[in-house]
């Protein structure tokens, strides 16, 4: 037991404390002097328009992807559960994007979205619609990335929803049917309330993973190697984690970047605590 404990102290707890400490210093990896600056980094943060851009973008990633994943995931899972053939086949195929490398699928989608010669624009032109900028214009880039996030996460949501749906005793639905409830009423009054724990779990998981979005942005709207603007056209796709990465490892502002990781930590902590509160609430039906 001593070894795992030492491991967690050395690889998780100590570095986390170090992160707090670094966030209170002006810590440039290139210079020897690392003066203590108190909360200056956080003050600077509050006045940094790029930070606010990244924070707003990250908010939108969450606000778009989480409801979309939940709605589509529940819809697909309900459909799969209601057909009595090929259930395993559907479940498997919808799951494929989830197990493939995010970096690989990001490049595949970058090619599908490609402005001049990508298949999506070729198809649009073929049916007489104007070509779209997708990833190459600030208006659509964030949505284009969010769509890929949903596409990749959908299979996971479907599997968890299916497991949740299977735990609802069929007698409940049969009883409601005998009482004359239609399909929508059964869904609204029986399925949805009983799925509540599953929905909360998936919502929190989706929120936390979208708050940490990184690989998709790095590979779809930047050089991948980090050349040029990491956050896409006019920083339109810049997320908090991409901003942290560029500050720490391209501009070597370790202190300032650590301050943002502390903010991210606080946000994730709040989400987790809210989840625990909601999940621990006893629900009686």
């Amino acid at each position: 037991m001593a070894l795992p404990l030492l491991f967690f102290l050395g690889v998780r707890i100590y570095p986390a404390l170090l992160a707090f400490n670094v966030s209170l210093h002006e810590w440039d990896i290139m210079s020897r002097a690392r003066p203590f600056v108190g909360l200056d980094n956080f003050r600077q943060l509050a006045a940094d328009p790029v930070f606010w851009k990244a924070a707003t973008n990250t908010f939108w990633y969450v606000a778009i992807t989480v409801p979309a994943e939940l709605a589509l995931g529940l819809a697909v899972a309900s459909l799969i559960q209601s057909v009595n053939k090929f259930q395993g086949f559907y479940r498997t195929v919808y799951f494929i994007p989830y197990i493939t490398s995010t970096v690989a699928v990001s490049w595949v989608w970058r090619w599908l979205y490609f402005k001049n010669g990508g298949i999506l624009n070729q198809l649009l032109l073929a049916v007489g619609l104007p070509a779209q900028p997708f990833l190459s214009g600030p208006a659509q880039a964030l949505y284009s990335i969010a769509a890929v996030v949903v596409w990749q996460a959908l299979g996971y949501q479907v599997i968890i929803f299916l497991a949740g749906l299977e735990m609802i005793p069929p007698t409940f639905k049969e009883a409601a049917k005998i009482d004359g409830a239609n399909a929508w009423q059964i869904f609204r009054r029986i399925t949805l309330p009983l799925l509540n724990p599953t929905i909360v779990f998936l919502a929190v998981l989706g929120t936390i993973s979208s708050l940490q979005i990184f690989a998709q942005i790095m590979n779809m709207t930047s050089g991948g190697s980090g050349q040029g603007d990491l956050g896409g056209p006019l920083n339109s796709t810049l997320s908090l984690v991409v901003y942290i990465y560029s500050l720490a490892f391209y501009k070597f502002k370790m202190g300032y970047a650590s301050a943002i990781t502390v903010v991210l930590f606080a946000v994730i902590l709040v989400v987790t605590l809210v989840q625990m509160k909601v999940l621990n609430r006893r629900i009686e039906y």
């Binding site: 037991m1 070894l3 795992p4 491991f7 967690f8 102290l9 998780r12 100590y14 570095p15 986390a16 170090l18 670094v22 799969i80 209601s82 057909v83 053939k85 090929f86 799951f95 494929i96 994007p97 197990i99 493939t100 490398s101 995010t102 970096v103 690989a104 699928v105 490049w107 595949v108 989608w109 090619w111 599908l112 010669g117 298949i119 070729q122 596409w151 996971y156 968890i160 497991a163 049969e174 049917k177 005998i178 936390i208 940490q212 990184f214 690989a215 790095m218 050089g223 991948g224 190697s225 980090g226 050349q227 984690v241 990465y245 720490a248 490892f249 370790m254 990781t261 991210l264 994730i268």
Partner: protein
């Protein structure tokens, strides 16, 4: 459900029941149609990736799915001009070592925390669980500083170290281990097994499905990991597959989409083949861990 409807229908509304069955047939078809359209969305990107990887010249930008003059040239060029196989090997080593290490340590810690009584047990559990709240993003900068000092930057050891034991894995194992009846373990102890033997010969056998599920999650997670590897890796020879793919596609490949798609295909196809073999176990494992946490 259909039986229920038939059973409740008596002779009087037999016609009604038959009509309902017919409507049901039509929605049945519609449901399959919707699911199949969804499947098209799910797999078209992969089909297009494969198609492009076999194309050459102007055809790369054509809208035909089946290449008219399919070629292996993109793959051979890729293997010739990059360290692709090396990246493959690195990713395999990283994923396998981390998976083995997690299975060993997570299950041992989980067993100790669930089944042994020793001082400080609940505090240790709390310390480990509290680390679940710390996002990796907060640790990458301190790790980078610490690993620089230790000389572990640009080594596979540096890539692997942070994942060798995971709080999630320990938590999962603790959950499953506490479900094992204590009598069973006592019986093994009476038979003369020491604590290590009880864990190895008895406890591990009983949580096999959970171990399999954890192995799948850890392997996939490490095989696809990007954030920490892209920071700690510097030279081409140390790259894992995602890092190699990312840097190659964004730089060395120029804008040669057929090369990028060949690289992506090589990264994706073996995983899909493994998935095809183990899909039932993988899907059930994912559902299992999702429910427990």
């Amino acid at each position: 459900m259909a039986e229920g409807a038939v059973k409740t229908g008596n002779v009087d509304n037999d016609g009604k029941v038959r009509a309902a069955t017919r409507v049901k047939d039509r929605t049945w078809l519609l449901k399959h149609a919707i699911l199949l359209v969804g499947i098209l969305f799910m797999i078209f990107p992969f089909l297009w990736m494969l198609a492009t990887s076999f194309k050459q010249g102007a055809e790369v930008y054509g809208i035909n799915l089946i290449p008219r003059e399919p070629t292996w040239a993109n793959f051979t060029n890729l293997l010739k001009d990059t360290d692709y196989l090396r990246w493959y090997l690195n990713s395999t080593v990283v994923a396998m070592v981390v998976t083995a290490s997690e299975l060993f340590f997570d299950s041992m810690a989980g067993y100790a925390l669930a089944k042994l009584r020793f001082p400080g047990r609940s505090i240790i559990l709390m310390v480990i669980l509290s680390t679940l709240m710390i996002p990796t993003e907060m640790l990458i900068i301190p790790w980078y500083m610490m690993f620089t000092k230790a000389g572990w930057i640009d080594t596979l050891w540096g890539v692997m170290l942070p994942g060798l034991i995971s709080a999630f894995g320990v938590f999962l194992m603790t959950q499953f281990m506490s479900g094992i009846p204590g009598d069973l373990l006592d019986a093994a102890r009476i038979d003369g097994l020491n604590e290590f033997g009880v864990w190895w010969h008895v406890a591990l056998r009983l949580v096999k499905p959970a171990l399999a599920a954890l192995a799948i999650l850890v392997f996939l997670g490490n095989w696809n990991a990007f954030l920490w590897p892209v920071i700690v890796i510097e030279s081409s020879a140390t790259r894992t597959l995602p890092v190699g793919l990312s840097l190659f596609s964004g730089g060395e490949a120029g804008s040669e989409w057929q090369l990028i798609m060949a690289a992506a295909s090589l990264a994706v196809i073996p995983v899909l083949m493994v998935f095809a073999f183990f899909q039932r176990q993988i899907v059930q494992g994912i559902a299992l861990t999702g429910m427990k946490s």
